[in-house]
């Protein structure tokens, strides 16, 4: 029980949630525009690789690495756009191909770029120090969650509200939603649907690039094969569980960050438990979460949930 309330666990939960949330934002935008983007998993891998490559080439400059990760991954995401928008491929199959391509290319380029196999550690990295916010010191919850975190974490938190505003109030956001609901109707209203689709895929690439560089140059300082470990799929799950709403998605990704942090604690405290079993937890959690949200959605659609609720209400009235 003490683990659940531990401040350091919550801080590390926020750190773990950040890359998932960033990727989830990309997935969310694509989903709003009617594109099933499971390629985010591969995008994160590419983001990790490019930022580590840039950092190692520029003598440890993490800022440049981040920039490279964002731009490079956005450019890479054009391949997905080409396949999905231009050639109208099946979204899921194109996503899987992109993921295979991403892991293939990064693993292949490890030898020529890093002169390494499987794992490359950045020796000369100049880490960005965490941002301390002195005015938060007396605010109970926020201090633990937000203070002394990386700048990327703060940016991601601000991004939740930017996205919320964008999807609700701006013309661009409404265009995105309109296309997702009915592309034909949006077209006849004068929205250039393909242009909007390209933009959401580019944005998802940029977000995933940032997620990748956060993962590889701020949390860790290395690139290894399989380091993304299905975070893109987890991100997709948070989008569904968060009911396609930026704040909901943020809480869902915090749940996964928390599960991540707890499993690290368990491994530290009880070394007897097999690591393979602990590693399984996030994936099973993702399935449970996905099932819950799908089930509640289904019940809501068939109206059974409301019926039960009404019955309960009537019962309560009788009691009173």
């Amino acid at each position: 029980m003490s683990i659940v309330l531990d401040a350091s666990v919550w801080a590390s939960a926020v750190r773990g949630a950040t890359p998932i949330l960033l990727a989830a934002f990309g997935c969310l935008l694509c989903a709003k525009a009617g594109i099933t983007n499971l390629a985010i998993d591969g995008f994160i891998t590419i983001g990790c690789f490019i930022s580590v490559a840039v950092v190692s080439l520029t003598g440890g400059n993490v800022w440049l690495g981040m920039l490279g990760g964002i731009v490079g991954t956005a450019v890479y995401s054009l391949i997905f756009g080409l396949s999905v928008i231009k050639f109208k491929s099946n979204h899921i199959i194109a996503s899987i191909a992109m993921n295979l391509l991403s892991t293939g290319i990064t693993e292949f380029l490890m030898a020529p770029v890093f002169k390494a196999q499987g794992l490359y550690r950045l020796a000369n990295i100049k880490k960005i120090p965490p941002v301390s916010l002195p005015f938060l010191e007396h605010v109970p919850v926020l201090n633990v969650l937000v203070n002394n975190q990386s700048i990327v974490v703060l940016f991601t938190i601000i991004l939740i509200f930017i996205l919320l505003y964008m999807l609700r109030k701006t013309k661009y956001g409404l265009n995105v939603i309109a296309i997702g609901q009915s592309a034909e109707a949006a077209e006849s209203a004068g929205i250039k649907s393909d242009r909007v689709r390209w933009s959401v895929i580019l944005l998802s690439g940029a977000f995933c690039g940032l997620a990748g560089s956060y993962l590889s140059t701020i949390i860790l300082s290395e690139f290894s094969v399989g380091m993304v470990a299905g975070r893109g799929f987890t991100a997709y799950t948070t989008v569904v569980f968060g009911a396609y709403h930026p704040v909901g998605v943020a809480f869902a990704s915090l749940l996964f960050g928390f599960a991540d942090a707890i499993s690290i604690q368990i491994e530290l405290l009880k070394p007897g438990i097999a690591t393979s079993l602990v590693s399984m937890v996030p994936y099973i959690l993702a399935m449970v979460v996905l099932t819950i949200s799908a089930l509640s959605d289904k019940l809501r659609k068939t109206g059974r949930l409301e019926m039960k609720w009404k019955q309960r209400k009537q019962k309560n009235q009788i009691v009173h």
């Binding site: 499971l38 099946n90 194109a94 992109m98 295979l100 299905g230 996905l290 799908a294």
Partner: protein
């Protein structure tokens, strides 16, 4: 009348194969450019492919079996427009079940024991594939994501079984692996290739691919699967319960995947090794796509990709090019094929409009 129909069919088949060959050539060209940019000789791909189909044919046959089966496992639910992307996880479960049964059996029952091992593997794979199917049926959970997530569960479960439960206590190596299977339960090698990795698994793959073709083209279940895939509304109108078809297709696909696990364990690994599976399940997607979800076509494309996979290993052995190159080729092939289908369709639409 009859002959012209046949000629049309043959022409169509030839055209289809020609188009797929073009796609593959495009993919290989891109990868050659890629190799040249990163400082390798681009012609290594051809050398590797050439060797894979001549001198190292045994390795090609060894890889063709899992490729064909994986293609079959993917194409059964694809035909019903269901995406089973969890073939890798199901392979792992099949391998776990195969190893558990093989290690528990008395060591002298050869053929009956082997059949039992394969049955257990097929059951385990089918059961693991039923999880996402049942979740999809009763809770409406997205089958694509659950199958993808279960891949990780399967992989870690294998690591757990190999490292903790079935670990060989006598061997103190770092490798997480179980005890070696009794030799009577090893799948025999192909005698024609001498002491190589080519094994009887290819016959099993052949039989299963033919069996599934029969299922597809000659039975009610195959008809139902195709109908649900092409027009679910019409299928419902015709009295087909798509939920039952989904369950059957997923179970069948999982069983085939489980058999891949059993072949890998009994024929090549001879024990349960953690993370033994080099993403065979995802390779199955490209095999099935290239064959246009036709189990007979899977035989050809599976054999080709077995060769490709083997050529990757040959390249890695002979030169310094890592065998991951094959994965890049496959990814590009998937991208080009999935794009091509709609381009063709659009052209046809335009023709229809101009008429």
């Amino acid at each position: 009348m009859e002959s012209s129909l046949w000629r049309k069919r043959i022409e169509g088949a030839v055209r289809a194969i020609g188009r797929q060959l073009c796609m593959m050539l495009v993919a290989i060209m891109i990868v050659m450019g890629f190799l040249a940019v990163s400082g390798y000789s681009p012609f290594i791909v051809w050398e590797g492919l050439g060797r894979a189909f001549t001198r190292d044919l045994a390795g090609t046959i060894r890889w063709a079996a899992p490729m064909i089966l994986s293609g079959v496992a993917i194409c059964i639910p694809f035909k019903a427009q269901v995406y089973n992307l969890g073939v890798d996880g199901q392979i792992y479960l099949g391998a776990i079940a195969a190893t558990a049964v093989a290690l528990a059996l008395p060591s002298d029952g050869s053929l009956a024991g082997l059949i039992l091992v394969f049955a257990a593997a097929a059951l385990a794979g089918a059961a693991f594939a039923m999880i996402p199917a049942i979740l999809n049926l009763y809770c409406n959970t997205d089958i694509v994501v659950t199958t993808l997530l279960l891949n990780f569960v399967g992989e870690y479960l294998t690591e757990f079984m190999a490292a903790e439960v079935m670990r060989d206590p006598e061997k103190l190596t770092q490798v997480n692996a179980s005890r070696t299977l009794p030799e009577s339960l090893w799948l025999p090698k192909l005698a024609a290739f001498g002491n190589s990795s080519a094994n009887v698994g290819i016959y099993i793959a052949l039989v299963i691919a033919l069996f599934v073709s029969f299922l597809f083209f000659k039975t009610t279940l195959g008809y139902e699967i195709k109908l649900v895939g092409s027009n679910a509304g019409f299928a419902r109108y015709g009295g087909i319960r798509s939920s039952k078809v989904l369950l059957k297709a997923m179970a069948l696909s999982g069983a085939v995947a489980g058999i891949i696990g059993a072949i890998e364990v009994t024929a090549t690994q001879h024990r349960l090794v953690a993370a033994f599976n080099p993403d065979i399940g995802f390779d199955g997607i490209v095999v099935a796509l290239l064959a246009n979800n036709n189990p007979l076509g899977v035989l050809i494309s599976g054999f080709f990709f077995g060769g490709l996979k083997n050529s990757g290993n040959v390249m890695e052995r002979v030169t310094e090019v890592p065998n991951i190159v094959t994965q890049i080729i496959m990814a590009i092939i998937i991208l080009t094929i999935s794009a091509n289908v709609t381009v063709r369709r659009r052209k046809r639409k335009k023709e229809a409009l101009s008429k």
